[in-house]
């Protein structure tokens, strides 16, 4: 099995430093690093593409376009949030960051935005613009780096602005070059946590970042930064107040969307393709709408309605838009999104029957009970399913025109004659076969090649007949419940739990149950847990060592 060794933090940051130095040399700015006196960083997490975009929109406004391709985020142990702790940027990825940064910096300093976003210019009282540069870079750097800039940093950036302006022929060009450098800096691209004075927990700035990225999936807002600056975030009351404010905000939906996008691996829809001759109703626009549908449904049920997480598996309500009417075979009267309710007894019930889930875990031209079952096991039950060996003969399964094996169930049964395959298929396929009434694009059907589809099966010793009943079993499953708690914990911490974390997880699970399985309560408990901000015993070294055992591909 292929493995990779995760670099230590020091190795990774050193490599980045070199890359940054090469990159910023071209634009006349220099890398900014934490001062020596601030100590070594204790944990570094790369911003995901979504977090990067959210941060730029929050800092500069939604009219600043983030144009360019991002290096794909890395999924480790099922989550991008864990992959973000692996801290890796290739030289190609850095070039992409730099190009995006230049585009943003050019917009911020252009004629259309300068007055609002820069707010000053060289003048008689500030002939070379040093004061303007210092004010702008100090203010903007505070937002970008999620901490105050040191005096040395401000001095360095201001001097570089002047030098760049001279070289490039204008103050704005110089300012743009330095801003691009800041946007390419590890201090922006990575959440670099620093220890507090006692060295037992992260400092207030890191707390603000952890809280904000967990609950809003974006950079801390002014109030949260102010709470960090005043020290209030270091008090239990202050932390609770900010946590409750963030959860009560409409932006908590963004945090929940980000969490479920990661947990359900809905980012995979970006790379999903279907055979349009087989699924003509499927287009890229439809695929985007499928993902949006699932996320809107989740936030509607779990945030707007504050319902029990388990209801997600049994809810007949679903976000709907006209674009998805042909997939769900229903008339859609409204323009825009609305909440549609399927009638009692409809097979289209719960998350398992969302077109996003069904299409995502299918092949381009046919369903895959194996992929669907594997996804359910891994993402919803936190179980490990080994990957197939390289020499498997899929001929029987892939022959959809076999005149004697007309259904997917029949073909898979034939495939199970191979003992080497049957062990894993017995784990995955029964669940996936329960969803066979939905084709590879998520459209309902009752027959396959003219034969009635059998959707009976068993899960956790209970029988089911169809997706709706399977959804009910998931809702009642303690494993599904525990998996959500574990995944949320991993998402927040950016790492797999170790043995010492099991008590913490058990308490979190019990608390989640006590509070009615509400997502707001779960995230509140995570955010208020002192361990969320505590330094891992042994510091960065232990984390790096733990990372070295991560497998590149989930078995």
């Amino acid at each position: 099995m292929k493995r990779f060794r995760r670099p230590t933090l020091k190795q990774a940051l050193t490599a980045l430093s070199l890359a940054l130095a090469a990159g910023t040399a071209m634009i006349g700015a220099q890398a900014a690093w934490p001062d020596d006196e601030a100590g070594d960083p204790v944990m570094v997490r790369k911003l995901t593409e979504a977090q990067y975009r959210n941060a730029i929109a929050d800092i500069f406004g939604p009219d600043i376009k983030v144009v360019g391709r991002f290096e794909p985020d890395l999924r480790v142990d099922g989550l991008l949030a864990v992959g973000a702790s692996a801290v890796s940027v290739t030289p190609g990825g850095f070039e992409q960051y730099e190009a995006i940064a230049r585009g943003i910096a050019d917009q911020v300093t252009d004629d259309a935005h300068r007055a609002r976003l820069v707010g000053c210019a060289p003048g008689p009282a500030d002939r070379n613009g040093a004061r303007c540069a210092a004010a702008f870079l100090s203010k903007t750097g505070f937002k970008l780096y999620r901490r105050p800039l040191t005096a040395a940093e401000i001095k360095q950036f201001t001097a570089t602005t002047a030098a760049s302006a001279k070289e490039l022929g204008s103050f704005q060009a110089g300012l743009s070059a330095v801003l691009a450098g800041m946007l390419s800096s590890p201090d922006f691209l990575f959440r670099i946590d620093q220890p507090d004075k006692d060295g037992k927990a992260v400092d207030a700035w890191a707390k603000a970042s952890r809280l904000s990225f967990l609950l809003w999936d974006t950079t801390p807002d002014a109030e949260l930064l102010a709470a960090a600056a005043s020290g209030k975030l270091d008090t239990p009351e202050g932390l609770a107040k900010q946590t409750d404010r963030l959860i009560a905000s409409p932006r908590f939906k963004d945090g929940i969307r980000a969490f479920f996008t990661d947990m359900l691996q809905l980012d995979g829809i970006d790379n999903l393709s279907k055979d349009v001759l087989i699924f003509p109703a499927y287009t890229n626009s439809v695929a985007d709408a499928m993902r949006e549908q699932t996320l809107r449904t989740i936030t509607y049920l779990l945030v707007d309605e504050d319902r029990d997480y388990r209801d997600l598996f049994t809810a007949r309500k679903i976000a709907m838009t006209r674009l998805l009417g042909p997939i769900y075979d229903i008339p859609v009267a409204k323009e825009g999104w609305y909440i549609h309710e399927f009638p009692e007894g409809d097979p289209r019930t719960g998350l398992l029957t969302h077109a996003s889930m069904l299409a995502l875990h299918s092949h381009p031209g046919r369903t895959s009970p194996t992929l669907r079952g594997k996804a359910m096991r891994e993402t919803l039950l936190c179980q490990q399913v080994p990957s197939p060996p390289a020499n498997v003969n899929f001929a029987v399964v892939q022959d959809v025109n076999n005149p004697t094996l007309r259904t997917t169930r029949a073909r898979l049964l034939a495939h199970l004659d191979d003992e080497q395959c049957s062990t894993c298929h017995k784990v995955t396929d029964p669940l996936g076969l329960g969803l066979e009434q939905f084709d590879g694009a998520g459209q309902f059907r009752t027959r396959e090649n003219g034969e009635l589809i059998d959707v009976t099966g068993a899960f956790e010793a209970s029988g089911f007949d169809g997706a709706a009943q399977l959804g009910r079993l998931f809702a009642e499953s303690s494993q599904a419940n525990a998996c959500l708690v574990r995944t949320a914990w991993k998402y927040a911490r950016g790492r797999e739990p170790h043995g010492a974390d099991s008590r913490d997880l058990a308490m979190l699970g019990a608390d989640f149950a006590d509070k009615g399985h509400r997502m707001g309560a779960l995230f509140r408990s995570i955010a208020l847990d002192p361990d969320f901000y505590a330094l891992v015993p042994g510091g960065a070294a232990q984390m790096a060592a733990a990372g070295a055992t991560h497998k590149e591909d989930t078995p």
């Binding site: 109703a281 006209r322 009417g325 769900y328 009267a333 409204k334 459209q443």
Partner: protein
């Protein structure tokens, strides 16, 4: 019950249990087109377009300037534009833009009547007034090109240019698509495509040798073509107990307010939702029956949208019957047989504009003379002239959902 379920599965088996109202089936039509007889040998000479006719009227010396080197009886492709300009100059065709220089920006701006709002919707009376102010012959001036221009040409006033319609070739084959609309066997009647006698289809006799109509009527081409996709027609069947055999279903024909979209294959997207056009004159209701999966309706007057590029001219059929096969994949293929009113048919030809007619090799004057001569339905007792012409149109459609106004209102 079981039989009905199996029948339902046979006719579009992907239906979900909640796929719209029970007993209701609706289809959005991606193309409604003049049905072609398909018999290639029936037109030994194709009907001349207006430009081709003008070319033939030129003196040999003039004709040589525009003739193809390979075949001097044909127009050289690269000379069509100069020839069209010469034709416009010769007949003093006129067109002026109501606003903004007109389509393409190369048209003279019209002198407009006092108080006329160029951004409003002009009326035929406005067009006459604009014609009078801009040097048009007396009583001339018609709206053209999506009502952006006022024009005078052989397409707006074919009666002024009879020589352009002389020698127009009509269809003299024995076979034509259609049905016996009048219940009589006349000498003008055709034999149908499957051998039925007494078929009335004088429109095909009039234009069955026009290249454009023959090509657009080829099912292979028509199935891939979207016509009036931005304002499609919807056929709704209500009270369908059994989609294979049902003695009585209500058939509604509506104009949709939403456009047909293409699916991943480039064909009409099935099971999309459509709101209805509020214009109630574009709605009709009749009854029908289904036998072995084929719907046949009672006669009904239809007014269906025809909006395509520069054409916006609803088609009006009198005494129309819809015959449609409900296909196993949930789509529909069928025909509209009836009397196409001359006024609405001519309106669609007139909307083509002279330039459009030249491009598609249609002779407006020839078509006008032919339909006036061959019309066979709804005689006006005052004039003694027929006002409609028997016709056969085919269509393709896919399953759709209709959002009825009351449902749309409650949804909002």
């Amino acid at each position: 019950m079981a039989v009905a379920l199996l029948a339902a599965l046979a006719l579009g088996g992907a239906d979900s249990p909640t796929g719209g109202e029970p007993g209701v089936r609706a289809f959005v039509l991606s193309n409604v087109y003049i049905a072609s007889s398909g018999d290639a040998g029936a037109c030994p000479v194709m009907a001349d377009g207006g430009l081709e006719r003008y070319f033939k009227l030129l003196s040999p010396e003039e004709r040589a300037q525009y003739a193809s080197a390979k075949d001097p009886s044909k127009i050289e492709q690269s000379k069509r534009m100069p020839l069209e300009r010469a034709m416009n100059d010769h007949y003093v065709f006129l067109r002026v833009a109501i606003r903004g220089g007109g389509p393409g920006g190369a048209m003279p701006q019209a002198i407009l009547p006092e108080g006329f709002d160029p951004n409003g919707t002009p009326t035929p009376q406005d067009a006459l007034a604009i014609g009078a102010l801009n040097g048009f012959p007396e009583g001339r001036g018609r709206l053209a090109f999506a009502k952006l221009t006022v024009a005078y040409s052989s397409c707006t006033n074919p009666e002024d240019f009879p020589e352009l319609g002389e020698g127009f070739a009509t269809y003299n084959g024995k076979i034509a698509p259609g049905i016996d609309l009048d219940g009589k066997r006349g000498k003008e009647d055709f034999t149908g495509m499957t051998g039925a006698k007494g078929v009335d289809n004088q429109l095909w006799r009039a234009v069955g040798c026009v290249k454009m109509f023959r090509e657009s009527g080829e099912p292979r081409i028509a199935k891939k073509t979207f016509i009036s996709a931005r304002a499609p027609t919807i056929i709704e069947l209500r009270g369908v107990d059994d989609p294979l055999n049902d003695d009585d279903v209500t058939v509604n024909v509506y104009a949709a307010a939403d456009a047909v979209t293409r699916d991943g294959r480039g064909e009409a997207l099935a099971r999309a939702s459509f709101a209805l056009d509020p214009d109630t004159s574009l709605r009709s209701t009749t009854h029908g029956r289904i036998r072995d999966g084929v719907l046949t309706t009672d006669p009904v007057d239809l007014r269906i949208n025809y909006k395509e590029q520069i054409i916006d001219s609803p088609r009006q059929f009198r005494d129309a019957r819809i015959v449609a096969k409900l296909m196993p994949d949930g789509s529909v293929e069928g025909s509209i047989y009836g009397y196409y009113t001359l006024a609405s048919y001519w309106d669609s030809i007139e909307h083509m504009t002279q330039n459009g007619a030249n491009l598609t090799e249609v002779s407006c004057a020839g078509v006008k003379q032919a339909i006036d001569r061959l019309a066979d339905g709804y005689k006006d007792p005052a004039t003694g002239r027929y006002t409609a012409i028997s016709a056969a149109f085919d269509f393709f459609g896919v399953r759709a959902f209709i959002i009825h106004p009351e449902r749309q209102a409650s949804a909002q």
